[in-house]
């Protein structure tokens, strides 16, 4: 079974770097090999189509690969794969034309804009989309969309990516989030965990601009990420573990090396040989995997696409960020793990 971090809590120096290249290559390889799962169906624009099973995975593929591309060196295979996958996703949305059709169908929805922003942040633009979206995003109604604070930060980051003026001050919105309130860390659980990881993703533009993180939040996260990640590993919440590790790799200043060394080998145990990482729970045994493969589809795949794509992409995203931070900030870690003074 999987080793919890409680069984091997300290982590040895260099432990993260010893697993990260393989974890990244495999997770990205899984996404590449499962492009079919991201392909949009013919009826994607119909009102009955579930966007959470179609456009959400594709948008996340573009978003997370965009950070992977920015975090990996040119001429590496991972960089090339990430760029290929973004191109694939851009083709799927017909260079933005499909998103424009989506917006014409649901002009007052925010999600077409957010998906578009994933591409725009990478320099892929569609003038017609921006004309309609720009008109809508200048309205009072847009600025007063009712939603959770961490989601509103997502919208603000999307506006920043597209190049329009944010509809409100990001600092005020941040102060209303669970993270921005520096909540008592012993109140952490799944829902607050996802709220805080997304708050960080939005204020740091998906971990690409760590400097935007305020100093008090940096210190708060350095103090409390270790017990949060420990609990996620013990309860086998692999998806949230991956998101928290991305957060750990998005702290300004030196990376929290002890934490990364303790957690990455444990998360690596949850990865199947195919590269898939399940959202939660025990990983399938090799026998189950082999049986599903040899049955020619008669047995259910122990790693079905919709149950794995998010956690696998998140793992690749967090791994690329961690690798970058650990290799560009080698061993200057004296103060990185203390989290003092919050």
């Amino acid at each position: 079974m999987t080793a919890s971090v409680a069984a091997a809590p300290g982590g040895t120096a260099g432990a993260a770097l010893s697993v990260l290249p393989v974890v990244l290559r495999r997770a990205l390889g899984w996404a590449d090999a499962h492009r079919a799962g991201f392909v949009l169906p013919e009826d994607v624009l119909e009102p009955h189509t579930e966007v959470n099973r179609t456009l959400k995975p594709l948008g996340e593929l573009a978003q997370l690969c965009s950070t992977i591309s920015r975090s990996t060196a040119p001429h590496t295979p991972e960089h090339a794969t990430a760029n290929d996958l973004i191109t694939f996703a851009w083709d799927q949305v017909h260079a933005g034309d499909l998103l424009l059709e989506l917006l014409r169908g649901e002009p007052f929805a925010a999600y077409p804009y957010e998906i578009y922003a994933a591409f725009a942040g990478f320099g892929l633009r569609n003038e017609c989309f921006e004309r309609l979206a720009g008109t809508l995003s200048a309205t009072r109604g847009w600025a007063h969309t009712e939603q959770h604070a961490n989601r509103e930060l997502g919208l603000i980051n999307s506006e920043r990516r597209v190049g329009t003026a944010p509809h409100t001050d990001a600092g005020d919105v941040l102060a209303r989030t669970w993270l921005g309130g520096l909540s008592e860390p012993w109140m952490f659980e799944g829902p607050s965990g996802y709220a805080l990881t997304h708050t960080v993703f939005h204020i740091t533009d998906w971990c690409c601009v760590p400097e935007r993180m305020p100093a008090d939040i940096d210190a708060y996260l350095r103090a409390w990420l270790p017990p949060w990640i420990d609990g996620c590993l013990e309860s086998r919440q692999w998806d949230l573990t991956g998101e928290l590790l991305a957060v750990a790799a998005a702290l300004p200043g030196p990376p929290p090396t002890d934490l990364l060394d303790a957690a990455w080998p444990a998360l690596a145990t949850a990865q199947a040989p195919s590269g898939a990482v399940p959202e939660t729970g025990p990983t399938a045994s090799p026998a189950e995997t082999a049986q599903a493969a040899s049955s020619g589809g008669a047995d259910p795949d122990p790693y079905p696409f919709l149950a794995c794509y998010h956690s696998t992409l998140v793992t690749a995203f967090a791994a690329a960020l961690s690798l970058k931070r650990l290799t560009t900030h080698p061993a200057e870690t004296a103060a990185a793990d203390t989290g003092a003074a919050v």
Binding site: E184, P185, W186, F188, W224, P227, A262, G339, A340
Partner: protein
């Protein structure tokens, strides 16, 4: 053991300087099972007098002496068992009883290299050593690793291990330098309300509050 812890909690609450914990729990020097329970609760038998600043009841001192003699650490005893035994002797020594010479401190090296999770677990088990003005190598180790203990408190609450959280919280209440964002006061209230039916949890939380009040004065 639970009766004994309950009586300590009651004595902590009342601050009654005539209270005899062992007497209330029906334990005397001839009751071996009772003495074993005193060995487990350890130095906390005298905690009400320590925290309320009065002399302990002679009956409690006598029973604690008996537990020290009756259950010395065995050759293969765990570090925690050795330290809790030392803690009892140290508590007796602080009562200025001539029959209890200060004993040499055991080794605390095993704590130095412990990961923060195991460190918190061990410190929580040794929470009776978290008393005001009682220095020890364990206390010094805790002083150096306040952030680790704070992380351990967070971990213990997340795992709903109220006893460990209460023990770690008691240490944190006795130490300087925990991150403000921990929110220890509310956290201890929460731990008491969630796990306080275990008298050991109630004991540690009450000890933490009294120590925090004492430090604030």
């Amino acid at each position: 053991m639970h009766d004994l812890a309950t009586e300590v909690v009651l004595a902590l609450r009342s601050g009654d300087h005539l209270a005899t914990v062992c007497g209330a729990a029906g334990i005397d020097e001839d009751n071996r099972t009772g003495i074993a329970a005193v060995r487990v609760i350890g130095a906390d038998l005298l905690l009400p007098s320590v925290l309320h600043g009065h002399h302990p009841h002679p009956g409690d001192i006598a029973v604690l002496h008996r537990a020290v003699r009756e259950f010395p650490p065995r050759p293969d005893a765990s570090d925690a068992a050795v330290w809790s035994h030392w803690g009892m002797m140290s508590a007796l020594h602080r009562t200025a009883s001539a029959t209890a010479p200060g004993a040499d401190e055991p080794n605390a090296a095993w704590l130095e290299g412990a990961p923060w999770q195991a460190f918190t677990h061990q410190l929580s088990v040794l929470a009776p050593l978290a008393v005001p003005a009682a220095s020890s190598a364990v206390h010094r180790a805790a002083t150096h690793r306040v952030v680790d203990l704070s992380r351990g408190f967070v971990r213990a609450v997340r795992r709903r291990n109220w006893l460990q959280a209460a023990g770690a919280g008691r240490w944190l209440a006795a130490l300087e330098g925990r991150p403000d964002s921990l929110g220890l006061d509310r956290g201890l209230d929460f731990v008491e309300l969630m796990g306080g039916t275990d008298p050991r949890v109630a004991l540690h939380v009450r000890a933490a509050r009294l120590m925090a009040e004492g430090r604030a004065r």
